[in-house]
């Protein structure tokens, strides 16, 4: 990586720009964060006004609790990652706050009309989500404290890779009663407590991918055969891709989950592409995925068995109204909720989310969409897009290959996950059970996604930190050192 290849914010062209470069923009983050929290409070007030015909005197308590928690992260960032991207935290906080608000709104709907005004802050799924947010944010802050340099995690790459695979496989291996919820074996269930290990596996696997690819990118990108004008990799280098492809297909077949499978595979192929700069990897990846999905579809229609679930989902997607009261019920109800919302929505609290199945989870985007309409959903999509693009910007700006791969892969994963679930509930692609990042109820998803944000914050801090910080940043880097010393990883080769 040369200076010329780094993005526009970093070229040290003069003293003045150097000064500008050194600006941490923490106050921007703070004001954006407060703005996001005002929006969340307004959202909750609107919900109460609609549902209770009055705004209770303590409507602001959940918003205030969230604000306190997020301000805590902000302080951690201010001291431990002062040059982190200032838009990431407020964007995530806004989504998380709206998620908590909407889940609390579901609780209000469920409660008897007389009890609604007295609903406790930590009651119901909204209260639990608030609690999960607290825990997740603590975890994220903890990660920021422990990981002063993102490159330090590369030491644990193989451990994390193994852990990732184990996490993915546990639900598949466990008997269905410990792992199956709504037909997808994605969980570890103990009593009433359940976690979705796959959410954490995303992060662990990506660290491994990034590390592995940084080491192998030379051979993957240079040793190739040219065919039809495209450079194709050597057969033996395909090994790891095929392994991940096989794992994804196993997830698809044994855990009955197309979404997660698509997520892992897309994540890997894209990091591979970023590492090697070879379009052929993308083509091979896409081809493998579509061939795999098509085969699963054909096998599902003929053989059935483990493939039947995917076949049924594909059939529902092709025509949800063919069986609107049974198989197509969820998707049809999601579409009807979105359609009823129309352009402007019924207003927060004005919809009928109780009709929607899984509205606190897979269908939260449809439930929210009924109330805030196309305009509101577009705004939410833009917030997601902002998170993804800010993450990619950090990847562009950071100087080491590992950080680029890590941030690029994680950002893309968030974007892909949003695409998979929102596309699923709106009928763009076959519906698969995925959580909507930061919105869906559930601790696993929230914790894992907040950890991802912590990593992105850390990478963006490294990216925007002045190169020759003579006075030294406020944080000493224990595992620091020049990027080139990353476990003997080869230096960047500039390709013509």
């Amino acid at each position: 990586m040369t200076a010329a290849a780094t993005p526009a914010i970093s070229p040290p062209t003069g003293e003045q720009s150097g000064v500008r470069l050194a600006r941490s923009r923490r106050n921007s983050e703070l004001s954006l964060l407060l703005l996001a929290m005002v929006l969340v409070a307004a959202y909750q007030a609107t919900i109460e006004a609609t549902l209770l015909d009055t705004v209770t005197s303590d409507f602001w308590v959940p918003a205030a609790a969230l604000t306190a928690v997020f301000l805590g992260v902000h302080v951690v960032v201010r001291f431990l990652a002062p040059f982190a991207d200032p838009a990431l935290l407020p964007a995530v906080a806004l989504l998380n706050g709206i998620g908590v608000g909407f889940l609390r709104r579901l609780d209000l709907d469920d409660a008897a009309p007389a009890d609604r005004a007295d609903l406790a802050t930590f009651a119901g799924i909204g209260g639990r989500q608030l609690l999960w947010t607290l825990i997740s944010v603590l975890l994220a802050a903890g990660l920021l404290v422990l990981m002063r340099d993102h490159r330090s995690v590369s030491r644990y790459a193989y451990t994390l890779g193994l852990a990732g695979i184990v996490l993915v496989m546990i639900p598949a291996v466990l008997p269905a009663r410990f792992s199956e919820i709504n037909g997808a074996k994605l969980w570890i269930r103990v009593g009433s407590f359940s976690i979705q290990p796959g959410e954490f596996a995303k992060l662990a696997l990506l660290v491994f991918f990034a590390y592995y690819l940084v080491r192998k990118r030379e051979v993957l990108s240079l040793a190739s055969r040219r065919f039809l004008g495209i450079d194709f990799p050597r057969g033996r280098d395909l090994g790891p891709v095929l392994v991940v492809w096989a794992i994804s297909l196993m997830v698809l077949i044994f855990q009955k989950d197309l979404g997660t499978s698509l997520l892992y595979f897309g994540m890997f192929v894209v990091t591979l592409y970023i590492a090697t700069e070879r379009v052929s990897w993308l083509l091979i990846g896409l081809m493998l995925f579509f061939v795999g999905a098509y085969m699963a579809y054909v096998l599902g229609s003929t053989v059935g068995g483990p493939f039947a679930n995917f076949y049924v989902r594909a059939e529902i997607w092709l025509d949800p109204f063919a069986d609107p009261t049974d198989k197509g019920y969820q998707l049809v109800q999601g579409l009807l909720a979105l359609g009823t919302g129309g352009l402007f929505g019924a207003g927060p609290g004005g919809g009928e989310p109780g009709i929607l199945p899984e509205v606190q989870n897979d269908f939260i985007f449809a439930g929210i969409g009924e109330e805030i309409g196309l305009f509101g959903l577009s705004a939410l999509l833009i917030v997601y897009l902002l998170i993804v693009e800010r993450g990619l910007r950090a990847a562009l700006a950071v100087r080491d290959s590992f950080g680029k791969l890590l941030a690029g892969g994680l950002s893309f994963t968030i974007g892909l996950q949003v695409f998979v679930i929102v596309g699923g509930i709106s009928g763009l692609i076959p519906l698969t059970g995925q959580t909507t990042p930061f919105l869906s109820a559930g601790g696993s998803s929230l914790m894992a996604n907040w950890l991802i944000i912590a990593v992105l914050l850390r990478v963006s801090d490294a990216a925007r930190r002045p190169v020759a910080s003579g006075g030294g940043g406020p944080a000493a880097r224990p595992g620091g050192g020049p990027p080139q010393q990353l476990h003997g990883a080869p230096t960047e080769v500039i390709r013509p």
Binding site: M1, A5, T6, P7, V270, Y273, I274, A275, E277, F321, P324, T325, V332, Q333, L335, L336, L338, G339, T340, G341, G342, L343, G351, E352, I355, G369, G373, L374, L377, S378, L381, Y384, L385, V388, E389, L392, A395, L396, S401, K404, L405, G408, S411, F412, G415, L416, V418, F419, V422, G423, S426, G427, L428, E492
Partner: protein, 501 residues
């Protein structure tokens, strides 16, 4: 690595662009369709917030709404159960609504434009008056006679239909399809129960959901002879004209031999038209049809209402139950020339001739009413939720004039003779002059014959008071006589039901 990272950024934007485009499709383009979809529970929650109006006949509620404790505040119930199921239809929560429940949905729900003043008044007074009421033309006695008559028919037929109407107005007096079904489970708020009931009815091989009186077309058999007779009377034949008959007839070009139902029927080489109608002489009508020609018969049938595929029975001219088209079929060879064998068979209501029970009643009604066929209707009146204001009263309309009053008179007299001394004696009842025509139609090689009766009743002053059509599917021997008996009972109930209308 930056070039691919930038491209990944573009890919994510494209993916989000797709999401945005698709949300536009769902939330803008398809929004209205989804908002009003039958599967959209929001529509129902709002719809069930207001008490839906009654559907009534003869002062009795046939469909009414009861308050519940559930999420949907009112439950639709049908106190008369299966008896009126085909006449009024049903209103389920998640499935499609049918019949009068569908036709008058907005008025019953109180959302119709006609009721806007009512809603405004409710807004000021704070009352919750609910939807409007629909009054049907049905006679409760006639409906009961038709329902019981069909169900307890002595031939043990399991399928059939009966329809009666007032020939002077077109008001439907009875409308029954057998087998029927109980609409109450379909209206259940438990969508699984409703679906299960629907699937059970739907999969029943006897087809209880089918409205046979309006949508089932069957070969009409000898009842179709009234159409041929009408054509003959318009072409120089009188009831006393002697027409060729015989114990059997076969077209010159070949084909099946046509015989009579019994050797005693018109074995002579010639009989009068009156005698041919009275005894239902097949050989006479086959030859009469051949003499008149296929075009004449098809045209006459069309004038009686055959081939009409857009007739509805509900509010006059405003839709309702759809009526299947009755057909005469192609009566020609592949080269376009008339197929005489087919024409002979068509003239006695076989071959490809198909008729709905309603069409049979319309033929009988037009004949009884001096040639004027009135448009059939079920909705007599629309009443405000508080029953003070009438928003609509049916004004009977003539549908068409198939025959002149002269020809109608001759046909009527011949049909009266059928009941007096011919095949339709079972339809007679005291105090009224009853006319009719029986029909026995072969359905398939290995199946029993369908029994038909179309007829009418005239009061002492000669005014037509009821026209009826009864069909018993695969009823076998004596099916038409049994149909005539049931028809007589329906008409007797209709004319004696003073309070019914």
């Amino acid at each position: 690595m930056n070039a691919p990272l930038r491209r990944v950024g573009v890919v994510v934007m494209v993916l989000f662009g797709l999401l945005f485009a698709n949300l536009n499709w769902v939330q803008a383009y398809k929004a209205d369709e989804y908002r009003t979809s039958d599967y959209n529970g929001r529509v129902q929650v709002a719809e069930y917030d207001r008490r839906r109006g009654n559907i009534e006949a003869g002062g009795t509620a046939l469909a009414t709404s009861k308050a519940t404790e559930g999420n949907l505040k009112y439950l639709r119930t049908y106190p008369a159960g299966a008896q009126y199921a085909h006449a009024i239809g049903y209103k389920p929560v998640n499935l499609g609504d049918t019949g009068i429940e569908r036709l008058e949905n907005e008025f019953l729900a109180g959302t119709s434009d006609q009721l806007i003043a009512n809603r405004v008044k409710d807004m000021f007074t704070g009352d919750e008056s609910g939807g409007g009421n629909v009054l049907l033309s049905l006679s409760r006695q006639a409906q009961k006679a038709a329902y019981d008559g069909l169900r307890n028919n002595r031939n043990g037929a399991s399928r059939g239909a009966a329809i009666a109407l007032d020939p002077r107005t077109g008001a439907v007096q009875a409308l029954v399809s057998m087998p029927s079904f109980d609409p109450n489970p379909l209206a259940s708020h438990d969508s699984r129960e409703a679906s299960a009931a629907y699937n059970k009815y739907e999969q029943d091989p006897e087809g209880p959901l089918k409205n046979r009186a309006l949508s089932e077309t069957l070969p009409p058999g000898s009842t179709f002879k009234m159409v041929v007779a009408a054509a003959a009377l318009e072409n120089g034949v009188t009831p006393q004209t002697r027409i060729p008959a015989g114990s059997s007839w076969r077209a010159a070009s070949g084909g099946n031999t046509i015989t009579n139902a019994a050797p005693s029927i018109c074995p002579q080489s010639e009989v009068t038209l009156l005698k041919a109608v009275t005894d239902s002489c097949n050989t006479g009508f086959a030859q009469l049809g051949v003499r008149l020609g296929a075009d004449t018969i098809k045209e006459k049938a069309r004038q009686f209402g055959f081939e009409q595929d857009d007739l509805t029975v509900g509010q006059l001219g405003e839709g309702g139950h759809r009526v299947a088209a009755s057909r005469t079929g192609d009566i020609q060879n592949p080269d376009g020339s008339t197929d005489e064998a087919a024409l002979g068979q068509s003239s006695i209501g076989q071959r490809d001739v198909r008729m709905t029970p309603l069409q049979g009643a319309l033929i009988a009604g037009a004949i009884a009413n001096g040639g004027a066929q009135m448009r059939p209707y079920l909705v007599r009146q629309l009443l405000a939720p508080d029953r003070t204001t009438t928003y609509y009263t049916a004004k009977p309309r003539e549908l068409r004039q198939p025959v002149s009053s002269q020809v109608a008179g001759d046909l009527r007299d011949m049909m009266v003779n059928v009941v007096r001394e011919g095949t339709g004696r079972n339809a007679a009842f005291n105090g009224y002059t009853v006319g009719g025509k029986t029909g026995t139609a072969q359905s398939a090689e290995d199946r029993q014959d369908h029994g038909w009766f179309i007829g009418f009743a005239l009061d002492r002053d000669g005014n037509p008071v009821s026209a009826v059509c009864v069909v018993l599917e695969e009823a076998g021997d004596g099916g038409s006589a049994e149909a005539a008996r049931i028809a007589g009972q329906i008409m007797r109930a209709a004319v004696t039901d003073a309070g019914g209308r």
